[in-house]
């Protein structure tokens, strides 16, 4: 009773078999219908997310957010979608028509493809391939190609510049991201995402908190969310690589960004927060789905909170943060995790001792990093605090009689 999704798919299979179709065709058809439903569900999730994001943004900025369209502004995303559907898609002069039209579809396809491998409950897993983690990195790189196509085919030098900077940012932050993805793989001894979820009897955020934190930061930079949002930089370069897009084509880029943030929340939930695991999730798979959604929402809320609190960084700050801080730190934490894990395995430590020692190792590396940063940059310009002597303010001004 707690496994409705498999019940429905079983019913669908029986229905098709009853119509007299061959068995292989039925299998292929039901897989395709499953895929189409997942794609549509993800796109519809974005509709809800637009409302959630605007409400959260409103509250964190001390205002109410949309509240005109429908009760509590719930119909606002519907209004947005109707508006985007009915706007004209202009193609600029000299644009490369084929690449111009394929780019938004490729951008959103690359985000949707991640959902094929994420397990949402104990029995609901799209595709249990044994190289799930690398697959996620692979489809991310398709999104990068889509950005280049969009920037170049617009025949606009600002779009091209924006596309180059966006690709430089995404490509730089992919290095620490893939390196931190190595750590759950190391801890779970497998690249399959379902295996990683099964291995989280203690959540990986406790065993490898630094890796989780670095994954969060680099994923935010991959998506282009503030504080790393120079890709759009609405107030500066007016939408960067998608400046020439309007109507639904722009809508696709917009939807793909929201969906990407939700997907990052899902990845953090799956790889570091235990995925669908929770009390009673194995016996009632529907509970697993519920836990998964809550954890994904926690990740999404965290990313949105950070976005609404921090100002934008400059491109040179962005890139030096990545190459001079995040990449060496990730390599060091990888080495430390590998050595400590093996040492503990050889010594045959009990589970609680293992968790404690790994946590301590992470804390030590973090503390060591802080020490190194303090010695390297003690007197950074801008951090100098000027001392003002206390001066009485509420005194009568000097007699200015003339």
């Amino acid at each position: 009773m707690g496994d409705p999704i498999n019940l429905i798919s079983q019913w669908f299979n029986d229905l098709l078999l009853g119509w007299g179709l061959g068995e292989k065709l039925v299998a292929v058809l039901s897989l395709f219908v499953g895929a189409a439903i997942l794609v549509t569900a993800s796109l519809l999730t974005v509709v809800v997310l637009i409302w959630v994001e605007r409400k959260i943004a409103g509250r964190l900025q001390d205002r109410i957010g949309p509240n005109r369209a429908g009760p509590f502004g719930l119909l606002q995303p519907i209004a947005d979608i109707i508006k985007i559907f009915t706007k004209e898609i202009t193609t600029p002069d000299g644009a490369d028509k084929v690449a111009f039209n394929i780019a938004p579809v490729l951008a959103i396809a690359s985000v949707l493809l991640i959902w094929a491998v994420i397990p949402m409950a104990a029995t609901v897993v799209g595709s249990d391939i044994n190289v799930g983690v690398l697959y996620i990195v692979a489809v991310g790189s398709l999104g990068i190609v889509a950005i280049l196509m969009a920037g170049w085919s617009s025949n606009n030098k600002f779009a091209l510049l924006g596309a180059f900077r966006a690709v430089a940012q995404m490509v730089s932050y992919e290095v620490p991201m893939v390196l931190t993805l190595l750590i759950p793989v190391l801890l779970a001894r497998s690249m399959g995402i379902n295996d990683i979820v099964q291995a989280q009897s203690t959540w990986f955020i406790v065993i490898a908190p630094l890796a989780g934190l670095i994954f969060l930061i680099t994923s935010m930079a991959e998506v282009g969310r503030a504080p790393f949002d120079l890709i759009e930089a609405e107030s500066e370069i007016v939408a960067g690589f998608h400046v020439e897009y309007s109507g639904m084509a722009f809508g696709m880029f917009y939807v793909s960004e929201f969906l990407h943030v939700w997907t990052i929340g899902a990845l953090i939930a799956t790889l570091f927060l235990g995925g669908w695991r929770g009390p009673g999730a194995e016996t009632w798979p529907i509970l697993g789905l519920f836990y998964f959604y809550i954890k994904t929402f926690v990740g999404y809320f965290l990313i949105t909170w950070i976005r609404l609190s921090l100002p934008r960084v400059r491109i040179d700050q962005l890139l030096s943060f990545n190459w001079k801080f995040l990449t060496p730190l990730t390599l060091v934490i990888l080495i430390v995790t590998a050595i400590v894990d093996k040492a503990l395995a050889i010594a045959g430590a009990a589970r609680w001792l293992y968790v404690l020692v790994m946590l301590a190792a992470n804390v030590l590396v973090g503390w060591g990093t802080m020490l190194v940063l303090k010695t390297v940059e003690p007197n950074r310009p801008g951090r100098v605090r000027q001392e003002f002597p206390p001066r009485p303010v509420a005194v009568a001004p000097e007699a200015a009689d003339n």
């Binding site: 292989k24 490369d96 690449a99 391939i129 044994n130 190289v131 690398l134 697959y135 990195v137 692979a138 489809v139 991310g140 790189s141 398709l142 990068i144 190609v145 280049l148 196509m149 170049w152 091209l160 180059f164 690709v167 490509v171 992919e174 497998s190 690249m191």
Partner: protein, 168 residues
Amino acid sequence: MSGLEIVFLIVAAMTLSAAFMVVTTQNLVHGALWLVLTLFGVAATFVLLNATFLAVVQVVVYIGAIAILLIFAIMLTRKVMQDSTSQTNANWIVAALLGLVLFVGIAQLLRKSSAVGMMMPAMDAAVDPVVQLGEVLVSPNAYVLPFEVASVLLLAALIGSIVVAWKK
């Protein structure tokens, strides 16, 4: 024809036609995009051969890094948009004939060789091939020396590219 064969034929046709378009298209950037499709087709072929790790590595490294590098190099040079010279010169018939002869020769060689038509070696289904690859890469009896030499090679590539590309 089994389903696997049909899928293979479709994938192979897509890869070959994309590769043909890479060399015949007049616009360099279009050629780079067709190259991305070709590399994707090669990854699909790896999947059909059950080499799943290699398939994702192909997409990650070739499409995600090398194709991007190529597209950067193309887009950052001037005047690349329209190449209006003809794609063929006067000798194209001789070249096509030569290509055909080479193709027929290699196809005959492959038909006669014993490697073609061999079934995929039955791998131990219980052990994950990636795990086996990992063991073999660092085991002192197998490939640990090439593994470390590969890292030195990557270091040399990094240093070399910085020396060549950096003008300061």
